[in-house]
Symmetry: C2
Subunit: 93 residues, 2 copies
Amino acid sequence: MTSDNSIFIGPKPFMNYVTAVVMQFTMKNADEIVIKARGKFISRAVDVAEVATKRFLEGQAGVKGIVTGSEEFQNKEGKLVRVSAIEITLGRK
Amino acid sequence: MTSDNSIFIGPKPFMNYVTAVVMQFTMKNADEIVIKARGKFISRAVDVAEVATKRFLEGQAGVKGIVTGSEEFQNKEGKLVRVSAIEITLGRK
């Protein structure tokens, strides 16, 4: 999987992400894309996956697998912080 | 699966949910529990699963499967609203 097939969910307008996912399947002919998010954006990643597959790509693509994990990094104060992460793989049907 | 083995994530203090998960495995001897959440609480559900399995139940329990979906319901104004949902199944190792 190349990083081209990953979409990282952040604070941009919701439909930007949905459009990006749909475009990967319809215009770029991707077989699989991975929606990634951390922390509070995890809920949004699930929303993007649901809206993309159920409203725009129904019958064409669906959720193939979901993996969660934790990432650790140092914050500005040098403290080690743990944050949850999710990767939702969508695949062509 | 009985509903006793489900934990629904909401706005209560974070550690309440982690404790509930850990107790199911350690005190009630559950083989499997399901963490459920909707909307913005999805991120929290992943956090609960991560902290419970990695900090408190390491080597004892882990994530066995994750399913996402959408639920529709009528809001106060009678409008049909779609909300994403997640179910994270934890199992004994």
